[in-house]
């Protein structure tokens, strides 16, 4: 594997996207698909664009590929300006030196595996000698563990194999960056997990820069070195998977990634950068959040199910709240509780064994871990 990555240091570079704006004209009027996307991806980085459908992630990817053009903004791949409407620069996709995996794979059904990989090499900018094309195809097939399937017709391949051929085709072109548009969404659950780790492993062994689009949060957390959460044509937060999960910057990011219960309140004491004392309908809570909030501001507290501790008797600790059990779900390695405290719903996840013994009629107490109690500013509108 290491042999395949010789000379990669000079080959692969970064992607820089600044201020992409794009509108679509539809029958209902103009729809803003992108409202100013800026994104830097470092050399060799695996960057995931994560968001619900219609958030603009695919449009962003297709702009980077050159299959769409933004109304304004700039796209740079490895020091070359690929697209800049203001400067009237547009490099077509075939000249960008990229690889791309499509959601439907884009495997040509009238060709066999070999020609699916070799065709771009035969008809690209540079004319490669036959022997080199053969070598490159063999090398690429080796990389995706499909050696020996050169003669197989594309229509006889399984979904997972088509996926691998699509990967091999991109690698054979020796692209600077690899773009992937929800490549796993057409596979069944088991195969998806398998390909997830395989794609991650192959791309990091080759050391290629990847821009990957998905709506699946676990895919994003597992695969990405960097995750950018998108919504409504904007990037809400960009960071490592750990950062995004444990320090969401906004309510929307917190809602989209994992589960979180929310309690509205008002800051009544504490320092600007915490710890904050927050008054709510359920009593006062202390939060260690590093967000800057001044006293008197309306805030929303958020807590993930795994950061709640349950106990049967009233504990001495801070941040405890009495609640009744609405619903209990046994998951095998844990138990999920849906709690109700003065009309506010709280989800808690208990992993210690005696937890499953809480009955659903009595009152129990939830302790919200102060260091994991998130604090968000109340936002009136989402602009």
């Amino acid at each position: 594997m290491a042999g395949a990555s010789v000379g990669i240091e000079e080959l692969y570079e970064m992607i820089r996207v600044t201020g992409l704006i794009k509108e679509y004209r539809t029958d209902q009027g103009a729809v803003k698909a992108l409202r100013g996307i800026s994104l830097d991806i470092e050399k060799g980085e695996f960057c995931v664009l994560l968001g619900p459908s219609g958030c603009g992630k695919t449009t962003t990817l297709r702009c980077v590929a050159g299959l769409e053009q933004p109304d304004s903004g700039e796209i740079i791949i490895e020091d070359t300006v690929m697209n800049s409407p203001q400067r009237k620069i547009y490099v077509p996709p075939e000249d960008r030196g990229i690889g791309m995996i499509f959601q439907s794979y884009g495997i040509w059904p009238h060709l066999d595996v070999f020609h699916n990989i070799s065709l771009p090499l035969e008809h690209g900018k540079k004319i490669l000698p036959r022997s080199e094309i053969r070598d490159r195809v063999a090398e690429a097939l080796d990389l995706v563990r499909l050696k020996g399937l050169e003669g197989r017709r594309a229509t006889d391949l399984s979904g997972g194999q088509q996926q691998r051929v699509a990967l091999a085709r991109s690698f054979a072109c020796k692209p600077k960056v690899l773009l992937m548009d929800e490549p796993l969404s057409n596979l069944d659950a088991k195969l998806r997990e398998e390909m997830r780790s395989e794609i991650k492993q192959i791309t990091s062994s080759v050391g290629i820069t990847v821009l990957y689009v998905t709506h699946d949060q676990s895919e994003a957390l597992v695969m990405g070195d960097v995750v950018a959460v998108m919504r409504g044509g904007m990037i809400l937060q960009r960071g490592s998977p750990e950062e995004i999960y444990s320090r969401p910057e906004s309510l929307e990011v917190a809602e989209f990634l994992g589960e979180m219960s929310f309690i509205q309140g008002r800051k009544v004491g504490g320092g600007l950068r915490g710890p904050h004392l927050v008054e709510t309908r359920l009593g006062n809570f202390m939060s260690d959040s590093a967000r800057e909030v001044s006293v008197g501001e309306n805030v929303v507290l958020g807590i993930r199910p795994e950061d709640i501790q349950l106990c049967g008797e009233k504990p001495q600790a801070n941040n405890a709240v009495a609640a009744s059990i609405v619903h209990r779900q046994f998951l095998g390695n844990a138990t999920m509780y849906e709690l109700n405290s003065s009309g506010i719903r709280i989800s808690a996840r208990a992993t210690i064994r005696p937890a499953s013994t809480y009955s659903s009629d009595g009152t129990i107490f939830a302790v919200l871990d102060m260091s994991c109690l998130h604090l968000f500013r109340c936002v009136e509108s989402r602009e």
Binding site: P93, Y105, G106, L119, G124
Partner: protein, 566 residues
């Protein structure tokens, strides 16, 4: 007691539908097959004989006719492809301006009778007085007319022009079914436009194009009106016109047996053609991968090539529609045809239009209205029943039913009309010579069209909508009436309108089964043409305008109500 639950709920309806369809479709065809082994007139006893087939094999005239037919098929096919493939590409894949206008014009054009265009082209290009010929002779100082419309290449060209619109729609569908990411993945990996077209788009489109070629070859050798109008004056026969000539000879007795045997051979040939068409189509469908994402195919920006595209579309539309229509309008204004000039204008009169009511006559209009309304109603009712059995039921013979309904599509109109005539004469049915034999013929002929259209709508309605009705206790026929019909209603109305308009333009069967009692507008125009060109042209002009207006109104009314996939 053991009964299959679904068959119990469906009852005997599917079996009844199958038997009815088989009787309607096979009755006439089998009668014609039977009669091809007889001589004399239908309805009179005659011994079995192979004479008709022996005659065909021994006749050098028939041999020549077969060659002509082949020539017409190939010529038409080439013309169709020459226009339809670029037009379909422009409409499906590029940002050609005014696309919806082009599409509208093309669909209206399907409804304009081919015989009207053929008549117009005679006025434009006949060797003695054809307007274009006269103008060209004047301009170039020629002694003789440069172009003769009464030749096989000219017939092929005119027929090709009139078959282009449906071909465009067929190929547009194929272009749209192609997964756009197949081309995009070539682009992002560095392939150039030329290479993509050669190595990806063309091979992927090939099966669909070959299928379209086959389909229009078969259609071309089956059609009658244009080769009849342009071929008979110079005695250029193709198979369909030969059949017509045998049953309605200028002198002597009609030769129904001979006509049947040729008709049977032609039908066998076109059925084989359609079989290969379906096989190729299946290949084409294998390539049409339906993708997960509804990403609209990015249109190719034509830029300054836009004008080339527009010019090409006009190059088709001028000879196919604009020129023939203007010629008809011009011809309708003069008792004796004048070359178009300002000098001729004072002679123009609207006489033909003021006399249109007398010329068409109440009987003809009544006949036409009956033909359109009853045919369309019968076809759509039968089609809904058949499609419902074919798409939804667990009926064992549903494949047979589907094929039976499509079979009339494979039998040329001329042959089917002939079969119907023999059928009616042999059984001495009282409908012979009345409007009802035309209704009967048209109904069966358009059954293939009707079931195709209802099938495609019915398939879009999720089976669960129906099952939801069933599990909550509704009987299957109730489900059809209360759940499915309301959902497919607008499409059925749309189909009804199309069939009514197609029956209006139908002339082949109307001529084959012609009697003084069952004259309809199309045959009226046909017989008026020689006697009173202006009058025939005036009726034609009104017909075209009425068809276009009806089409537009129906479109406006139905557009938002047509079924969308659930």
């Amino acid at each position: 007691m053991k009964t299959d639950p679904s068959s119990r709920r469906e009852g005997r309806t599917p079996l009844f539908v199958l038997l009815l369809t088989l009787a309607l479709v096979l009755g006439p065809i089998l009668t014609a097959l039977w009669f091809s082994f007889h001589t004399g007139l239908p309805g009179f006893p005659s011994p079995y004989t192979l004479k008709n087939y022996v005659d065909i094999l021994g006749s050098s005239k028939v041999y020549g006719v077969f060659l002509n037919t082949l020539g017409l098929g190939v010529g038409t096919m080439i013309t169709v492809m020459l226009f339809a493939v670029p037009l379909a590409w422009l409409l499906a894949r590029t940002d050609l301006p005014a696309k919806s206008l082009w599409l509208t014009v093309l669909s209206v054009e399907i409804l304009i009778p081919g015989f009207l265009k053929a008549f117009a082209w005679i006025l434009l290009l006949n060797p003695r007085t054809g307007i274009i010929n006269v103008v060209l002779m004047g301009l170039l100082g020629l002694e003789r007319a440069p172009i003769n419309i009464y030749t096989l290449p000219a017939i092929s060209f005119i027929q090709g022009l009139s078959l282009t619109p449906p071909a465009v729609f067929m190929i547009v569908t194929a272009f749209r079914a192609m997964d756009i990411s197949l081309e995009e993945s070539a682009r992002v990996h560095g392939m150039r436009y030329g290479a993509i077209a050669r190595r990806i788009t063309l091979p992927l489109m090939m099966p669909a194009l070959v299928a379209a070629l086959l389909y229009y070859f078969v259609t071309a050798i089956e059609t009658f009106e244009i080769p009849a109008i342009l071929g008979l004056p110079s005695r250029i026969f193709v198979v369909t016109t030969l059949i017509y000539e045998s049953t309605q000879p200028d002198a002597g007795l009609p030769n129904y047996g001979g006509a049947s045997s040729i008709g049977i051979l032609l039908s066998a040939f076109s059925t084989a053609g359609l079989y290969f068409y379906f096989r190729t189509l299946r290949r084409a469908n294998q390539y049409a991968v339906i993708t997960g994402k509804g990403y609209r195919a990015r249109e190719i920006t034509l830029g300054k090539w836009k004008w080339v595209g527009m010019a090409f579309a006009l190059c088709y539309l001028l000879p196919a529609l604009v020129l023939p229509f203007l010629t008809l309008v011009w011809a309708s204004l003069f008792r004796y045809l004048q070359a178009p000039s300002l000098k001729a204008l004072p002679l123009a009169s609207l006489d033909a239009y003021t006399k249109i009511w007398d010329a068409a006559g109440p009987t003809v209009l009544m006949n036409t209205a009956l033909l359109m309304a009853i045919t369309a109603t019968l076809v759509m009712s039968l089609s809904v029943l058949i499609s419902w059995v074919v798409i939804r039921s667990s009926f064992r013979w549903k494949k047979t039913l589907d094929m039976a309904a499509f079979l009339p599509h494979a039998v040329p109109s001329v042959v089917f009309a002939l079969a119907l005539a023999i059928f009616a004469l042999t059984l001495r049915l009282p409908i012979y010579g009345t409007i009802f034999i035309l209704i009967f013929g048209n109904t069966i002929k358009y059954l293939g069209w009707g079931t195709r259209s209802v099938n495609s709508t019915m398939i879009q309605i999720h089976k669960e909508l129906e099952e939801a009705g069933q599990v909550h206790g509704m009987v299957r026929l109730q489900v059809l009436r209360r759940v499915i019909l309301p959902l497919i209603g607008p499409s059925v109305v749309n189909g009804w309108m199309w069939i009514a308009l197609l029956a209006l333009r139908e002339v082949t069967m109307a001529l084959m089964l012609y009697s003084t009692n069952n004259v309809v507008i199309s045959t009226q125009i046909w017989s008026l043409w020689r006697a009173d060109t202006a009058q025939a042209a005036a009726i034609g002009v009104v017909l075209v305008i009425v068809v276009a207006v009806v089409w537009f109104l129906a479109r406006k009314f139905l557009e938002s109500r047509l079924v969308h996939p659930f």
